[in-house]
Symmetry: C2
Subunit: 315 residues, 2 copies
C-alpha cells in the first residue's frame, strides 16, 4: 500500500505547488488514482512520469526539472537530491513457506540476501534460519546499497563471502545468478510469492554469454554505449573501453532498443549502462551487446573462466 | 554532404574537448565515420547521440550536458543556446522536373512552401513559376521559422494566404496536408526526388480523425501528455486542457509508444507534444490520441468543420 498521507504531509511541509510521481512498471497503473487523490487533498498540480523506470538509477530528470518535488516509488534511495523523495514499496507477503522449503538445500553457514521489496522481513528470515539450527550471515554492501543484505540488479556487494550457501529471498533469476557469479558460492533462491525454493543454475546464461563473446571476437567496428540516466553514467569506463577497442564510436542512448542499435553500422556493442540491458535483452539485439567484463575477456584483459556479471559499484 | 571542415574549425575556435553529434534518422549511419574523422583531426572526444531525433525541437539534453559543443544536424535553428550548433542538410536534387509537372495544376497566384532540405532552391522555384507566367508569393513565418517559405511539421505559418494555389516542394504528405488544412487553399505537392506532382488530398486523414474524435466523446478518464523535449513543452496548454477534461491525469513522456500509453488505464489521450505523433502513429495506439485542436472539438469549444492540424506557434 502506498502511504498517501505521508506524501500529502511532505507536500504541505514543503509548500510544493507542482509534484512529480514516478513509478516502476508494476505500480504505474496506480498513478492516475494517486495523482487525483494528492491533487484533491493538496491543490498541487501533479504530473505522472510515463517513461519506463527500472530503478533508483533511473530518475526522470526531465520531469524533475518541471516540479518542486519528485516522489520516486518502489526503490531505495540511491542519490542525494533534496528534490527527490524515495518511497519504497514493501510486499506484504510472508517468507516462511519459501524459506522452510529452502532449508534442505542449505549448508550450515548461510548468507542471506534479498531485494528492497522484502527487506523489512530480513529479521524474520534470520530468525527462521536460527530456529532451524543454521548460522545466518548478513553483510553490508557498498555505498550504493541502502540496507544490509540488500541486492540491486547492478550490485551484489552485500553477498557474504566465506559461507557455505547463499539464500536469496525474492523472485526472478537475475539477482541470484549475479550473487552466485560474483562470489562463486552456490545460491538457493526462495520465492515468497510461490513458496518454492530451488538451486540457482548459471550454466545456461554462461553458455549464452560465451557464445556472444566468441561472436564479438570478429568485430572490427565497435559501438560503446554510454547511458544518460543519472545513476548509470560511466563515461570514464566508456572512454577506457574505447581506447582498447580500436575502431570504436561512443554512442549515448537513453533507452536501448534493437532499432536504435541498428541505426549504426557497427559489428558489436559494449554497454556501460544498466548491466541488465546486455543480458536480459540479448535475444532481441541483432549484434552482440557485451558488458564491460565480457569485453575485457574478448580483448584478453581478463580470463575466460572469470566471467561475472557487470556491476556498478559504490564506494 | 556534411561539411567536416566547418565542424573542425568551430571545435578549434572554441577549444572544445568533448563534442556531441546528433543526427536525424536518415543521417545517423554517417555518425561513426564523421566522429572518427573529427576525433582524428581535433583530438576531441566525440559522442554520437543514439536516441531518435525528429527535429530541432528534439535536442538531446542529456548529451548536451556531457559535452562542450553539440552539433545538431539536418534541421534549422529553433532555439538560442550557444552550446548548440545547428548544421542544416540541403539535398542536392534539382526541382525543375517536379515543378514543370506541377504547372498544369496551379492557379495564377501561387504560394510557395518547402522544407529546409530544399530551401536553398527557393529562388529557383520562384524563377520557374515566373518563367511560366505565374505570380509566385513567398511569405515569412512566425519566430519559430528560420526562412521565408519554410514549413515545419508543427508550423505552417509561412503558408501564404490570398493565393489561388499553394505549391509545396518536398516529399511526404504531412507538410502539404497541414498547409492545406491551415489555409483552406488547395495544395499541389511537387516531389523533387520522384519528379512527380499531385493534388493533395486531405479527405482520408480527416475521416480518420473524425472517427477518433467520435470515439473519444465517450471517454471518462483522460491522460494529457506533456512532452519533455526542449521545443515541445507546452505545460500551460496541458494545464488548460486538464481543467476542461474533468477526470484527467497529466503524464510526461519523452518518446510516445503504444506500450507506454497502455501503462495507464485511461480511455483517451490528448497529446501536447509534437503534433505529428497523434496523427502519424494513430494506427499503433489502442486508444484515441487527440491533438489539442481535436480535443476542443470533442468538448464543443471548436466547431467540427474547423478541424486543422495542431501547430506549435512562435511569436
Amino acid at each position: 500500500m502506498i502511504d498517501v498521507d505521508g506524501i500529502v504531509r511532505i507536500i504541505e511541509e514543503r509548500k510544493a505547488k507542482t509534484i512529480g510521481l514516478q513509478f516502476p512498471e508494476g505500480l504505474k497503473r496506480q498513478g492516475p488514482g494517486i495523482a487525483k487523490d494528492v491533487e484533491a487533498r493538496t491543490g498541487a498540480l501533479v504530473i505522472v512520469s510515463g517513461d519506463p523506470c527500472y530503478g533508483a538509477c533511473d530518475i526522470d530528470d526531465s520531469l524533475l526539472d518541471m516540479v518542486d518535488v519528485l516522489f520516486h516509488f518502489g526503490h531505495s534511495r540511491l542519490m542525494d537530491d533534496d528534490r527527490i523523495v524515495f518511497i519504497e514499496y514493501h510486499h506484504e507477503v510472508e517468507v516462511d513457506t519459501a524459506i522452510r522449503n529452502a532449508l534442505p538445500l542449505l549448508g550450515q553457514k548461510v548468507g542471506i540476501v534479498t531485494t528492497v521489496q522484502h527487506i523489512h522481513m530480513l529479521k524474520r528470515m534470520e530468525q527462521l534460519l536460527i530456529e532451524a539450527g543454521k548460522t545466518p550471515v548478513i553483510a553490508r554492501g557498498d555505498s550504493r546499497i541502502t540496507y544490509p543484505g540488500q541486492l540491486l540488479g547492478c550490485n551484489f556487494s552485500a553477498t557474504p563471502a566465506g559461507v557455505d550457501t547463499v539464500l536469496y529471498v525474492g523472485s526472478g533469476n537475475f539477482h541470484p545468478m549475479g550473487a552466485q557469479l560474483s562470489t562463486g558460492v552456490p545460491v538457493i533462491a526462495a520465492d515468497p510469492f510461490t513458496g518454492e525454493a530451488r538451486k540457482v543454475d548459471v550454466e545456461k546464461i554462461m553458455r549464452q554469454r560465451y557464445a556472444l563473446m566468441a561472436k564479438a571476437m570478429d568485430a572490427k567496428k565497435w559501438g560503446i554505449i554510454i547511458g544518460t540516466k543519472t545513476g548509470q553514467k560511466r563515461l570514464e569506463l566508456a572512454r577506457r573501453i574505447k581506447e582498447t577497442a580500436g575502431d570504436a564510436t561512443l554512442i549515448s542512448i537513453r533507452e536501448i532498443t534493437p532499432d536504435r542499435l541498428l541505426s549504426f553500422k557497427v559489428d558489436a556493442y559494449v554497454s556501460t549502462v544498466c548491466p541488465r540491458v546486455a543480458i536480459d535483452d540479448a535475444g532481441r539485439f541483432g549484434v552482440p551487446v557485451l558488458t564491460p567484463v565480457e569485453f575485457d575477456i574478448v580483448k584478453g584483459l581478463r580470463k575466460w573462466e572469470d566471467l561475472a556479471f557487470d556491476e556498478i559499484k559504490g564506494e
